[in-house]
Symmetry: C2
Subunit: 416 residues, 2 copies
Amino acid sequence: MYMTSKTNHALQSSLANFDNADGELKVADRLITEIAGEAGTPFYLYDRASLHKRYHQLRQALPADLNICYAVKANPNNSIIRELDALYDGLDIASKGEMMRALDAGSTADRMSFAGPGKSADELKFAIENDIGAISVESAREIDHIRQICQDNNKQVNILVRVNPAFELSSSGMKMGGGPKQFGIDSELVPELIKSLVDDRYLRFHGIHIFAGSQNLSAESIADSFDNILRYAQTLRVDTGVPLPIINMGGGFGIPYIAKATPLDLQAVGLHLSRILQSYRTELPETSFKIELGRYIVGECGIYVSRVLYRKVSRGETFLVTDGGLHHHLAASGNLGQKMVHRPMPITVANKLDHPLEHVNLVGPLCTPLDTFGMRMELPTANEGDLIAVFNSGAYGYSASPLGFLSHNHPKEIIL
Amino acid sequence: MYMTSKTNHALQSSLANFDNADGELKVADRLITEIAGEAGTPFYLYDRASLHKRYHQLRQALPADLNICYAVKANPNNSIIRELDALYDGLDIASKGEMMRALDAGSTADRMSFAGPGKSADELKFAIENDIGAISVESAREIDHIRQICQDNNKQVNILVRVNPAFELSSSGMKMGGGPKQFGIDSELVPELIKSLVDDRYLRFHGIHIFAGSQNLSAESIADSFDNILRYAQTLRVDTGVPLPIINMGGGFGIPYIAKATPLDLQAVGLHLSRILQSYRTELPETSFKIELGRYIVGECGIYVSRVLYRKVSRGETFLVTDGGLHHHLAASGNLGQKMVHRPMPITVANKLDHPLEHVNLVGPLCTPLDTFGMRMELPTANEGDLIAVFNSGAYGYSASPLGFLSHNHPKEIIL
């Protein structure tokens, strides 16, 4: 039995992703205390079985003809890329660095698609020289750069036009459509641009890319986004007369981070998507549909584990001071874009799952009040030496944290 | 002439710290375009002359018998530590990693003092074995650890008791006094603790450490903090009958980050401090007074420089997309503890100081709307290739940023 407030849905959901025995979390059939004893704390732990389970959930729920790509930005760890490249239909990369990491992990350039508002000439050159699968272009100026590089190197490259739609794509999650944006080309300029690309000697127009949003937990809202994207694409197809070989609809599938959040209904997303793709299939007969997911693919497979160094009472409040903190896991400290009140991520005492709950302040070793994963939060009663697990740490964890802050050791990354 | 809103006091102050010629920023007598041309962008640039100037300002303004130490956490760059270790009276370190960096930079352990709420046994052992100058202890439990390590290694170590005062130390800046805290030992427990340390075989009681706050721009408020600290110390001296060889009063001197902020009046701080030290001198005759500064010593000496990759207009708004961003400079993106509205740091176009102003959105290359140093901010009109300078980047810049986020190259660090 796990002692937790029944109202912490995110934590319940996280715990359900992993086994436990005798009040201890198990990953890959091993007790967390064993893993920590061998590796030393703190560490990020990625669970291969969870990666595969998520893949099968996605493949089972979503239409068979929908390509699903992995967005490397979520977790560029070599083993993670290697594992996911073997499962999914391609890799989305956001920098030359990510492309190099993906190549190092054994992937091939033709499986990669490159998007980002600030691609440098050096990055574009590297991508083109290595025969990248496609580039999502985000401005007319970028197209000029690409054409020049292709000309200099006698190369052709597949181009997706990234569109900044004039409409808001969905009613929840992180909004990225509508209004002025650094991402993509304003939709009102897209038809002329596409027509100008037909029969380009260097750029093969390959379709469009629209980012559907981020961290969305509503199946209906995600479905609305995709429906809006395809309605737009259909109009564009008619207006320009130019076929759209690929429509990259972005991703935006969320995972539950905060107590009141419940998991995305993936079956419902799948049913919506089947219906939506079906309804546009006749009008977009040449089109392959693609989504790109990062957080949803890799987020829940990862746990950040630190150890309690001190249990300390100050003026009636209990502090657990751990050997890990903000420097290793910025998002868990509430400083990666969360501008409001800090709401703790799903966190527990990994080797005391069945201990009675208490309210504690969970803090790291840094000399700053920012270094907390949660104040007055409910956790199983813990002592020095116990292990704190932060779930949902597979995406935007290690790579999105200021590892050099206060010059502590970097956490290990372990995949089991 | 520099074109800027007269109301941006922080930017005016930053510009006054550096030379310029023909509308270009100069550092160490070199034009910023030259430096960028040689080094490639983005980079952090630290100005040795500014470091020395700040040292002389501090030494001239503050009482001669006040020791001033450098808090390595602000910037642990090897050259910076080397430079500052030669100028100041010692180094404050916050981790074994910082101690190793300081040793690498040529400093000696006796010049170092170690504070932090989560020192691990390994960190304490390293510090004690290397004969660190002093350790600020933050809990009774930590004292047990230290005593055990000293016993095992037949060592003695100087101990400062870090105090969590019952009072709020000042009326502005980041508050760290009063209430339950992970930092220090609650003041009500300190007298007994100190008496218990007298004649300890392994721990030499060396005084107290009270953190006065952080990023405070008011001389009066800083003076109040110091006055409160010394009043407390005097009472403690009387209550315990135990001399206080050192009182580390922390620091907290701020630098102006946001438009409306004006620089700290250092002369006023100095006058207040002289008066305050004088007033407690007779009651604390055995005491050396010490402050530790990080941000104030090194913050204004550093500039983060990136280059405009794209100038892009979307639906009537202009975006400058640069090759640097949040991943290199988390604080400039408003994600290092600033929970409210993002207020830009002092930023300008370093090679177009005299160009007419316009309103632009300054964004980085990352695929996230978080990657901005300022939306609709006033900057000299810039084009592709121009250089964006973020001032006040010498402290909590490079080392406090998620450098691996989206796998771009790390910025260079240059000292001139």
